[in-house]
Symmetry: C2
Subunit: 297 residues, 2 copies
Amino acid sequence: MTRQGNSPTLGELLEPFAHRCEQDLGRWLIEPGVPGTLAEAMRYCTLGGGKRLRPALVHMAAEACGRTGSNLTARAAAAIEMVHCCSLVHDDLPAMDDDTLRRGRPTAHVKFGQAMAILVGDALLTRAFGLLAKADDRRSGRLTCELARAAGAAGMVAGQVADMDLCQLPEGLEGIRFIHLRKTAAMLRAAARMGAICADADDKTVDALGDYAEAIGLAFQLFDDLLDVTGAAETIGKTPGKDAGADKRTAAAQLSLDGARKLGNELTDRAIASLESLGEKADTLICLTRLPALRTH
Amino acid sequence: MTRQGNSPTLGELLEPFAHRCEQDLGRWLIEPGVPGTLAEAMRYCTLGGGKRLRPALVHMAAEACGRTGSNLTARAAAAIEMVHCCSLVHDDLPAMDDDTLRRGRPTAHVKFGQAMAILVGDALLTRAFGLLAKADDRRSGRLTCELARAAGAAGMVAGQVADMDLCQLPEGLEGIRFIHLRKTAAMLRAAARMGAICADADDKTVDALGDYAEAIGLAFQLFDDLLDVTGAAETIGKTPGKDAGADKRTAAAQLSLDGARKLGNELTDRAIASLESLGEKADTLICLTRLPALRTH
């Protein structure tokens, strides 16, 4: 990854939100009455690392709508990160992607066994919805609908079903888009929409922020696919070349580097265009699309 | 299982509610946009069988509070059954209880593979919370809190963690009670409380119905343990003797038949006492405690 001029890295841009999210997760993750070993495994799978892109998008979208730091926004951010962590733990299982390394550490099933890994995922998913409901806010129901739709059988789960070759897909790049839209972009879209909903934005603004996040989600996944071919383990925190080696559908298998760069730039341009009506308040979100990580390779 | 006088069987008592729940699940289970193979697996794991005890308790508790058949009650009933079905699918996995037969049919991972079984569970859990939120009702948040608490890391997931020997437990019967309270009784308690909440019952009545259901949950699990030792596959729909053979903690290992019968009767007496303030409206719930299935063996 190369720096361009004075642009921050992705990590630098997300750091304040990641810090906030880490604190909130630490506060809300474990209810009273959770057995110690389960609590330890839940903490292992949730705290101590990760870009926190989804919670950052919740906070950034709320800020772009003129409201910062509310309790509801923090809950929405923590909830979507819990659901994301559930998906990582379950996707890493031997029956799925069979990964042994995640964020530079042993995956949950390597560390705690498969049974605990399955149960930790279920616990995180359940906790996320409990946390949203416990906010006891008029917007909780709408936030829950957004999260459930993005995470569920028509969203992230469908993306993993497709990625595991468990359903029919269009050929070529369309098939890859089908997976990326559901597996990655749906949750980023939900994150941005949830932030806007927390800020009481109007429907048009909620939609615009969702469109923005979907486009950067597709760009991000494109980058991730390509980095997986060219990158090193210390950069991406997992075994490089694994996806291609496993002969999975990736953009790298369908596009030249030039073709991928062109598509990435189209997606980021579309993301920026979605933010037009928000003016200067969207500067952080625009900055996110201009990151080297999203525009080069 | 022997009939006593004119008592209905458990199946006969639950049948009208099971029928209603089956219809509601068929209507609400699959959102638009779910891949066909995933939808098929979700239907396989949810429709076509099961006692539907949890949804029946939601409806019966609402009836006992004087309100029947509302849309919210039906959603609550369907949601808790989806969460229950998720737990069955995940508990059956090779890394957990490694069961190949459920309700007389191949378990989900035998039929669709482990990856799909893990994903179906996640989809069902997510759909349950989405369904409650979509009711867009002032009581949705409270219902979600009840369901999340009962299903999550301090409830049903904790029960399975304990049952899998993944956390420390008290010795002997206390350890069994720890498991039964979380793995079975917590969800029955939540079902009855959710029914009462749907019917706008006061807090005292919500608590009373929850206490009733917890007691019959403990009695039911006691019966299930004992039947597992003495029963036949056609009665219980799974391989008999499996739990004892796997050397799992069961009441059968700790209690004589007489001791188990005495404990079962104490639990059902306690359940009936919890219903005192409800008068005749609780007749169906009292009938449930008097079933041979709960009082004999």
